[in-house]
């Protein structure tokens, strides 16, 4: 026993150090990319950075929404699972920090301020039909300038992270305090925070998706976009939740507490949000396809064909990959009971979903119109494979290691028991049965 506890004491520290080293390496590499991008006017490192952040941010937001939904439904089975998700919320402040360099460039980048979000710089070139004009000449920006301006944008980003971090703080406090005194007032507090938090976080994530990802092509708009981001985040968060719980069962901490019934319910939720993701993503495509308005259709066009030649581009195959790999396969796979209760089978599919979620974000963030004065339509679509992928991997690893470090630190801090032992629902949760 002594031996085991002493190795347990040293190995997490080693892991923390490794994660911090990974984040320094990843973020450092990404920052070098940003710096180089600023020098040469290359957008790729910025897109990569945003992509890397978006993956982890979507997971944290999904976790936040799941906790609040569990709270508001007063669900009896969830407390065992909820505690693991509460630790994940500790990533939010760090995610905000990771997005800071992009905001700093927007403020202090001078003539490169609009390198990522072109509307930030009024002199950035943009496309109107097929002629090249500047952002300030573009009527589609003039009409949106009351919303899409740097001051309001900055204020909003601060507000989003204020909401995410604030709700996280109170949800964690309500849950962790109850471990100590068992006072039912904490359950009531958690419910109240969730009742206010769900609409607040829903608005923050919707407008956050508009601001950070949709405004990359500020002329394009889709009211489904926020819902898409929510659905994606829920899928990724459920996947990570399952992985965390399965891992904690394997290393003994949740053995006998996290049961097949919990796993089955989480897997059912994964199936639900797989369908919901497809519903939302398809609806977005379907409405734009049916309406057939050029200022909307170009967004999908550059994800299917090379606009200058009309031939299929690499993005076509990514799009097909999303339809079949991110929807049909996980959907059909998760329909079966055995795949939801068998641990290796479920672990396989949640890893699959995470990989395709990453591809989905890539598909949403990376393709864009690069202004090329000589081109037939005035621009070229950014290719699938390029330096943005390399820079993206840096920030993906960097941000990921930083978030993992924060979450593991929360797990090991002793701030909370492995399950909420004094939650009024804990007995029902432990005895949860299919």
């Amino acid at each position: 026993m002594m031996d085991e506890s002493s190795t347990k004491d040293t190995s997490p520290k080693g892991l923390s150090t490794k994660l911090l080293a990974g984040s320094v390496l990843g973020l450092g590499g990404g920052l070098v990319g940003l710096f180089q991008g600023l020098q040469s006017g290359d957008k790729a490192p910025f897109l990569g950075w945003l992509w890397g952040c978006s993956f982890w941010l979507s997971i944290a937001i999904g976790m936040l929404m799941l906790i609040m939904i569990f709270r508001i439904f007063n669900s009896k089975w969830s407390p065992v699972v909820r505690r693991q998700q509460e630790h994940a919320l500790s990533a939010f402040p760090w995610l905000g920090l990771c997005l800071l360099p992009l905001l700093l460039v927007a403020w202090f980048g001078k003539d490169q301020a609009g390198i990522l979000w072109s509307w930030i710089n009024p002199a950035s070139p943009t496309i109107e039909v097929s002629s090249i004009i500047s952002v300030e000449e573009d009527v589609l920006h003039q009409k949106k300038a009351g919303y899409l301006n740097l001051n309001f944008f900055t204020l909003r980003l601060i507000a989003y992270f204020g909401i995410f971090c604030g709700i996280s703080y109170w949800l964690r406090k309500a849950s962790f305090s109850q471990d100590k005194d068992g006072d039912p007032k904490w359950t009531h507090l958690g419910t109240k925070v969730s009742a206010i938090g769900i609409p607040a976080a829903a608005l923050a994530l919707t407008f956050g998706a508009f601001d950070m990802f949709m405004s990359l092509e500020y002329q394009w708009f889709s009211t489904m976009y926020g819902v898409w981001f929510f659905a994606s985040g829920m899928r990724a968060a459920l996947a990570i939740t399952i992985l965390i719980c399965v891992y904690l069962v394997a290393n003994g901490k949740l053995k006998g507490l996290f049961k097949q019934a919990h796993q089955y319910d989480l897997a059912c939720l994964s199936l639900t949000f797989t369908i919901f993701w497809a519903y939302v993503s398809f609806s977005q495509y379907f409405l734009i396809y049916s309406a057939n308005i050029p200022e909307e259709t170009f967004w999908f066009t550059i994800r299917e064909i090379d606009p200058n030649t009309g031939l299929r581009s690499g993005w076509f195959w990514v799009s097909m990959g999303l339809i079949f790999g991110h929807f049909f396969f996980p959907f059909l796979y998760l329909l079966f009971y055995r795949t939801k209760v068998d641990v290796p089978k479920l672990v396989f599919i949640v890893c699959w979903i995470l990989a395709f979620h990453l591809l989905d974000l890539y598909w949403n963030i990376i393709p864009g119109r690069e202004i090329v004065p000589g081109a037939f339509v005035g621009y070229e679509a950014r290719p699938v494979i390029g330096s943005h992928l390399l820079w993206g991997v840096f920030s993906l690893v960097g941000v990921g290691c930083l978030c993992a470090w924060a979450v593991i630190r929360s797990f090991q801090s002793g701030i909370a028991e492995i399950i909420p032992i004094r939650d009024p629902r804990i007995r029902e949760s432990i005895n949860h049965h299919e």
């Binding site: 379907f286 396809y289 049916s290 329909l335 009971y337 049965h433």
Partner: protein
């Protein structure tokens, strides 16, 4: 009694707690009976596994219904828009999996729901108006505070005396034969 024709249906034993029922069910399964049933006023977790039940086959009907619905939707759209009366609407192709997708999707859900409902009816042999087990004088108590195990005559291992004594052995309190009268 003697002037009424009846059919012997089953041997029934009552129990007074869920635990007794649960333990007895395990023994009945072990003994190898196949046509038998438990009755309980409350859900007893794990009883289905204890009785050796496999998972329900209803999902197969659901899947079959869903697939049928999807292709029915496709067939309707193809027949109407591309075959019987080709018409260009909104510049879209005569047939494509995109613009009529809501039709496929809705029919998938509708037929899957039909498959679930009617598959469940089929597997449960519902609807039926009466059941021989209602003839047991204390059957109403299984909706209150009694538990019951009923082993049917249909069971290949059934034997009047042997089954009755076996039911006593596993803790059954009042063991009796259920007879279904015929008018």
């Amino acid at each position: 009694m003697s002037d009424i024709m009846d059919i012997k249906y089953a041997a029934a034993a009552t129990f007074s707690s869920a635990k007794e029922l649960y333990d007895a069910a395990g023994k009945v399964k072990e003994k190898g009976y196949s046509n038998w049933e438990c009755f309980s006023p409350i859900p007893v977790h794990g009883l289905d596994a204890q009785m050796g039940y496999a998972r329900s086959k209803v999902p197969r009907f659901t899947l079959a219904g869903g697939i049928t619905g999807f292709f029915t939707g496709m067939l309707i759209v193809w027949f109407m828009n591309a075959y019987d009366y080709p018409l260009i609407v909104g510049g879209k192709p005569y047939f494509s999996p995109i613009y009529p997708f809501p039709v496929f999707y809705e029919l998938t859900i509708l037929f899957a729901a039909f498959g679930t409902l009617f598959g469940m009816f089929f597997l449960n042999r519902l609807p039926r108006h009466n059941h021989p087990v209602f003839e047991h004088p204390d059957f109403g108590l299984t909706g209150d505070d009694k538990f019951m195990i009923v082993i049917e005559v249909e069971d290949p291992m059934y034997d009047d005396e042997e089954t009755a004594s076996f039911l006593k052995e596993v803790g059954g309190q009042s063991v009796q034969i259920i007879r279904e009268p015929i008018d």
